[in-house]
Amino acid sequence: MPETYAVDIVVIGGGSAGICASVAAARKGASVVLIERWDKLGGMGTLAMVQTFCGLYHPDVSLPPQLANPGLPAEIEQLSRERTGAEPVKMGKVYVLPQHPDVFASITQELTSAESSLDVWLNTSCTGIAQHPDESFTIYCGERSVTCRALIDTSADAIVAGFLGATRYSTPPEKTQRAAFIFSLQNVGLSAADESFRMRLALEIVHAVEAKELSRLALGTACRASTKHGEIFFTTDLDPAEATELLSQGHLLAIQLTEFLRRKFPEFSEASEPQLAAQPGIRETFRWKGCYTLTAEDLIEGTAFPDAIAFATWPIELRENTKGPRFTYFNQPVPAQIPLRTLVSAEINGVFFAGRCISATHEALASVRVMGTCFATGQAAGHAAVDYLTVDKITSA
């Protein structure tokens, strides 16, 4: 017998946005199911090993770091700092918080398991969705299904729009943000912050590529310090492609680079086998068309919205080509408003979205997609879904 469950709200996708959406809704008393296709929560921040939280802090770096969004973004920031021991750092015109994927995995686990009305379904892929005449939904996950009255899409790919035939935006391939693969090495005898190492690494990689000892992809590799002693992260820039293709390129390169580092640098002679990210880093796929589409001008000029529900603080960071990122900063160093209408479908009642698939142009998404902002839009979508159900109850009573 297929099992069927019924709850108030289903959240699809357990990344930065989905965790905050489901916890925020549960804390307001809703019964919630959070569906995640892999074996842990955290999305790109755990599965792809992205190791920095951006978008958490007020954009004025002449002031000490100050949180831009209250509630869950602030709780996660606090927990991450306590557990990793890493404090916010100023990088040029922004503050970032170094984080650790393993620590983030524990934090997401703790936050979600503390809510008794929240059920997390790991290793569960959403494979279909139907909306019924009474506007309720059934979410199909293979043999299992669950019905709900409000649905939150935090899949990062706007999969709910795909299943329900609603309008999604995508970006032409030549402008789509680039992808990446991340791995780490442990038991390394130096720090990635060591400038002379970074310069020597750059030179050795170039010469090994010229000598055809390393794939040309190695030229897109950057290293970052970990919050764990003796660990270094490596991020390799890749052309956007299907996840399986990115994974096979990434694995091959990680193995080549590990062998190369052990051979060229005595500090790597004892290095561990590479810890490979379970998923490739994908920056941009599909996003929703909501009641309003956030633009770069809104962020840069600081448009005021009557329905503002979250603040964006990260500059517009475009990585469209191999020349590296291009940053456009807000005109004033103040947080920019994100209106609720960017999280609400104009076409389907009861659907909300957050994180990387909110209604935004390609350029605006290049700011609001960072994890700090995804926490905030996730939390706002969770609250909005509960409000929707509550208002609905009052009118129908």
Partner: protein, 80 residues
């Protein structure tokens, strides 16, 4: 000679690596203009191919890559 090298380096970097607007002079900090570790690899590759020189670990002084002028001087020294 140095001046010619500065001019050709400016064009090379501007076209192939990162934008160098007029505010970037021959003594401006290249790291501030966008020379991160990825750009450094591309720069080494470009310089080696364009000027037929081989950069060695001994050249890896932050100073040598700090401005268009210092870079040009290093290339000039290596070409002799």
């Amino acid at each position: 000679m140095i001046q010619d090298l500065v001019t050709s380096l400016r064009t090379l970097i501007h076209e192939q690596l990162f934008p160098l607007d007029d505010s970037v002079t021959e003594s401006s900090d290249l790291h501030a203009a966008g020379l991160d570790s990825l750009a450094l690899m591309q720069l080494i590759l470009l310089v080696e191919n364009e000027y037929s020189v081989k950069i060695t670990p001994g050249d890896l002084d932050r100073e040598n890559f700090s401005s268009l002028e210092k870079l040009a001087e290093m290339i000039a020294r290596k070409k002799i």
